[in-house]
Symmetry: D2
Subunit: 428 residues, 4 copies
């Protein structure tokens, strides 16, 4: 297959410089007492799910600028994700959105996925839009709606999503609710929360064995006055009330200005309720930018908490789910996802490079500057050769974006997928 051939050709062409850089880095790490091989193994084992909605160009309420060759259905999306997985070795699972990417025949889709070497991560519901055929509108809420009939419709939708997920081999349900209000008074703040909990209980009771339920909080948008699950505190209250298979999902863009997100992560770990992540980055709101593109130090600090918890024997059953959730408005979606995976691997590698005994000693001795430097020096290390090598060992690309561009995949798809479709105006 041409992607694989391109990877091999490109890797071979770069192997000289790469091996020299890697050797130098391993030597430097050795000097700092770090075991590069162990880090390579861990970075190589990193996996993150790709959401089915991230393969097409995203947009804002002001418009969307399509990309030539966008996938037209879930099969074409899976094809793109398989390319990403081949180039990175790190994206073996898809997180499906129902109904946007609901398969007519789940068994057929699962076979298709198997053939591509892909599986299915958490399934995602949608009660923030009205879909053709739904009798009642979610304009004024779904699980939180004052009308029991709307709430029943929303519960039924979630049970259906679980059924689809079960057929595909998923083992988790992610519930992001847009329920909220735009104006003071519109929604009773306590009762809407109680109704939401009641609906979630019904959904939770239908979770198949082995499944987890993730509630995802968000402070605002699309509701602009009050959102029912507005912060991690509300998400925690729900997860506590539901039971031991309910957890909180942290989307990196779902926080008020200046939130210390790594601190939220730490608290959820302490509460035993950290379910996983929707990775992205943001400067202003839920900007859904490439993870690590705006605040790379923050992303590192989040991974620092994860690595710290994974090594802490007092933290039981620590297994957060990693998913990407971005809107690719101006980049080629496949390229953006390749870059995202690289950024996540880098942040994880940096967190693994922290000298934790030096850090702990400095913390216990109140040596603020040296504690800070233990993190900063790991962050400053150019971890590029490590993550490239980790990919190479999995048969993936040293430089995924360069290899992707070399394949000519997008141009080929632009021809192949354009039949009768809208042709965007010319852009550079």
């Amino acid at each position: 297959m041409f992607v694989q051939e391109t990877i091999e050709k490109m890797n071979a062409a770069r192997s000289g410089d790469h091996e020299q850089d890697l050797e130098t880095l391993i030597g430097q790490l050795h000097r700092r007492g770090l075991d590069a091989e162990a880090i390579l193994t861990q970075v190589g084992a990193f996996e993150v799910a790709v959401p089915s909605w991230a393969l097409g160009a995203g947009g804002t309420r002001f418009g969307r600028f399509p990309v030539s060759g966008e996938p037209r259905d879930i099969y074409e999306k899976m094809e793109d994700i398989a390319v990403i997985h081949r180039l990175t070795g790190a994206t073996p699972r898809v997180s499906l959105h129902i109904p946007w990417d609901e398969p007519e025949d789940p068994a057929a889709l699962r076979s298709h996925a198997d053939a591509l070497g892909l599986g299915f991560d958490a399934v995602n519901s949608n009660t923030f839009q009205d879909q053709p055929g739904r009798r009642l509108s979610y304009k004024f809420g779904s699980l939180a709606h004052p009308d029991a009939a709307v709430r029943e419709q929303a519960v039924a939708h979630h049970l259906h999503v679980i059924e689809v997920g079960r057929a595909l081999g998923s083992e988790a349900l992610t519930v992001w609710l847009a329920d909220g209000s735009n104006y003071p008074g519109q929604m009773h703040l306590r009762r809407s929360f109680e109704r939401t909990l009641d609906g979630l209980r019904q959904i939770y009771d239908h979770l198949p064995p082995g499944w987890r339920l993730f509630t995802e909080h968000k402070p605002y948008e699309p509701a602009f006055y009050a959102t029912v699950v507005q912060d991690w505190g509300s998400s925690l209250m729900l997860a506590q009330a539901l039971g031991e298979r309910a957890f909180c999902l942290v989307d990196l863009g779902h926080h008020l200005p200046n939130t210390n997100i790594e601190l939220v992560v730490a608290r959820l770990i302490t509460a035993g309720k950290l379910g996983g992540f929707h990775f992205n980055d943001a400067k202003y709101g839920d900007d859904d930018l490439t993870a690590g593109s705006i605040k790379p130090y923050q992303l590192f600090l989040v991974f620092n908490e994860l690595v710290d918890a994974a090594r802490d024997e007092r933290v039981d059953g620590f297994a957060p789910a990693y998913m990407i959730d971005q809107s690719h408005n101006v980049k080629d979606p496949i390229e953006a996802l390749l870059q995202t995976v690289d950024n996540l691997q880098r942040a994880y590698a940096q967190a693994l490079l922290v000298d934790r005994s030096a850090l702990e000693a400095a913390q216990n001795g109140c040596d603020v500057l040296m504690a800070e430097q233990a993190l900063a020096s790991a962050f400053r290390t150019d971890e590029g050769p490590l993550v490239a090598e980790a990919r190479r060992r999995r048969g993936a690309a040293l430089d995924p974006v360069a290899a992707f561009r070399e394949t000519g995949y997008r141009r080929a798809k632009a021809r192949e997928r354009s039949g009768g479709a809208y042709q965007p105006p010319q852009s550079l």
Copy 2:
């Protein structure tokens, strides 16, 4: 006409209580040394333009929930605006968006407007979307685009908008540019600004006699890293460079968290560059909520600056343009606009109720508490009877929303305008 009859009927039914409340209020104001008649005259003279895009249900990037009976074209939008004007006596002008509401025959539209008693306020351009038939895409910018051909297309669009506006009798052009970037490096921060200024100069040079040009700043959205005209400072630099007919437009939702907006207004007045407003309200970002619905005291404080400047003989040629810019996602658009006009009239009335000599004395004497109370006591006054009376004297409704509901206008339009259109699912 049934709207007029309803107004008269409803006003008559409420006149007893209204007159009693008004008389009481006038007595109280008299006790405070305030001339209620003068205030009534000023409130009655308040006018604000309605944007052509505010008559249909708005949405977010997550979806839109249509309203039954939405207007299907600019003619039906004008019809709705005429109803709002009749009920409030304060919205005699429309602010048109090109190309969303571009008339095929401007002269015909102008005649239609004349017949409805309406005119045209500032016209608005659109380079934040690609439109069918445009050869080049604005995906990576318009006036700021690195490619001269795209910039020329954008300039040409603005000249066309001016032409349409001239045919309609407009006398101002509002330029809100979405130009910006989502990632560091994407756009050269200085050169993109210089290119924007260059394009605006070409547009400014084509302004018809008597026209003004408004530049509208916005910190983010749809660009999520850097926006070319991101704040009032950048907008001021543009207006200064363009010339004396260039002014800055303040949208109340286009500010970073915690911005003191009334202070921005004051600075633009001092600079002689306050062009006008896009009224709305916001809690988080550019939420486009009903003006005065979230931070009513802030809206009052903005009007306080306007009243203060209008009375200041050292402020020359003070004539800001007032426009509404909201997104009606969960309210009936007509009702929301009626409520908005009422809120604006209330805020203006409150500002007129300030005892300015007491305020000035307290300011000069550093009596912080009494200076604050001079504003707070005006704000606390229930100005309802005043604004109701100001409307009644213009033949409009004491209670515009109640009168509108009584007319049954929306239900009638839902039948009349539904031919073949999408029927939204049932909502309460």
Copy 3:
């Protein structure tokens, strides 16, 4: 006593206008189906504690501008609070700060308070400063400190504060911890929280019968990277772990930008953990401005949640503690407190004016605009005559600030308390 005489004299002088305004208002409320007498009774029963640190001029890290006649010790502070109580009828309790206002002889202070008609509300600890005589520094934390000896000192301090409070008749302990870090790495995010909980458990175990413990969260300041009890979620985790006498205290200035505070209040009510409030207002951070001075609608919306919960039979044992926590940097502290109490009484009265059956009907019918108007029209009502009358019925002042100025109290104290003290430079 001259304060009482002044109140009576001033009330008499204003009684004509007042009674007329009150009668008019009662008539208007009657028309809206509201029982003014019931509201008068409730407003009259409103009480709020005054913190011992609010009687002197506050400052910032950039300086403090003293006020002439500031109280020099807790006895003089009690004297000032007694004046405030006399003028408002609403501040019968003092919230004491230890060690700033620690009495040498608690029994003597209690007798003094009795004589003034005052009692003691929650006592407050201080581990954010080093005090003369303390052996170990809190520079790097108190309950969260990595060194057990510092933690023990901090626990011992809290037990001492409880002892003082018990001697004074207090029944609650408020714990605001400044523990946190300024730099990534400085503090282990999870372990510092665990240590804090461990310390709080020891303190909680020593609570006298009938006492409650309040934990107060704050996102930042004085720690500028991470704070141990940074938000209501962390505060809730502590209160849940401690037990049924532990509750969360909400300071209105301790929130990240754009936080919907009334929603936080609603969640804590649902969790059964709303302990009470530190009232103030803020535009940027923990600005400690006069409650209701910047965002009066927000204050009303908070009280709206409180009134709603108080009427909800499903909410058990709802009895939040009300305290003021402000920094009076530019106003006379006594005047600022009088104004604050008035603002709180107004916000409470407005919340009582909400037509709750209309609100509930609009909420259940998804009539967004009418639900909003149910709140907005209560907020717009000029509740002044109601709160004035509620005060008058308790023997307090119709207009507390005006009456206070008439007494000449501050000038008298400036002479009386100035002996040898620093004389501030001349200001207006």
Copy 4:
């Protein structure tokens, strides 16, 4: 001198690893087409002024935790700065604060500085505090005060500061005004600005030949409702009105949440009014943390604008002044400053590592991802060996903090400077 000997000893001990790392890095940069020697020269030429107030422990309004061995007067502060300069080779100038560090005999201080190899950067005024001996208070403002007598006192203070600066060899005056208000109404928003401009004109007229005047904006603190010079727009209006020697100073902590600071820098460059910087970092407000400690990518992006402008021949006379302005609350002030200089040198080196022709090509071709990568790959490069070498070539330390700790300077000063001074309680 023992500092110099320690530097030499430590550099020698580290030279083996250093030279190997440097050689490797130079090779990698060569591969990327970058001239390491040119970068070394530029980094070596980087200089930044140290403020006289940063040598002692800083504090917050909640307290200050002293450091043993803090300098007790300006002479001891200069001694500490000389050590920093010796260790970094980059801090040859002091920015003096009047009156905090006003010398009794400026000529003597200048001689002392000469002997230490130090000079004087911009002098700083203080009208945010009352000082002993000043007749009138700044409680309600200085240049913006309604009372002309206070304004005259404030102008006179500035003229005095200029005189002191002239005697010391300074060539710039930095004016940060705390003038503002805590409550709506307290201050007339426009008149207070006009009075401030009037005062600044008087000060500007007294600038000695060759001097520059910097106005420094800040959104809030100590004023919590409105600040007179609240943002760069207001600062620009002042600089434009004053004349060609007036410029705007950017403090990295003086921005509202989410501000794109590099964009503000770009605009001020375009306006020809970028005067310089107060370097620090912040997560929440004006936190005054170590530059680069919280948002290192942002610091790099700021330097990226500076390097870009310095290379742009259309930017005339680009010579911003670099100063540090931090509050060292939990770190040893000397160590924190050494770390700060290192962080600044690193950010500058990273900006010099950007492949600007690749960046420009990607920008012009709208290749968003590659434009971003041009910045990200420079940021990811471990620039440590470059900045260490740049220091070594100036006779300074490869690792300034390690060398400082080795000198034992702080312990020696703790003994030397402690005579009779307050001894802080024991901390780790």
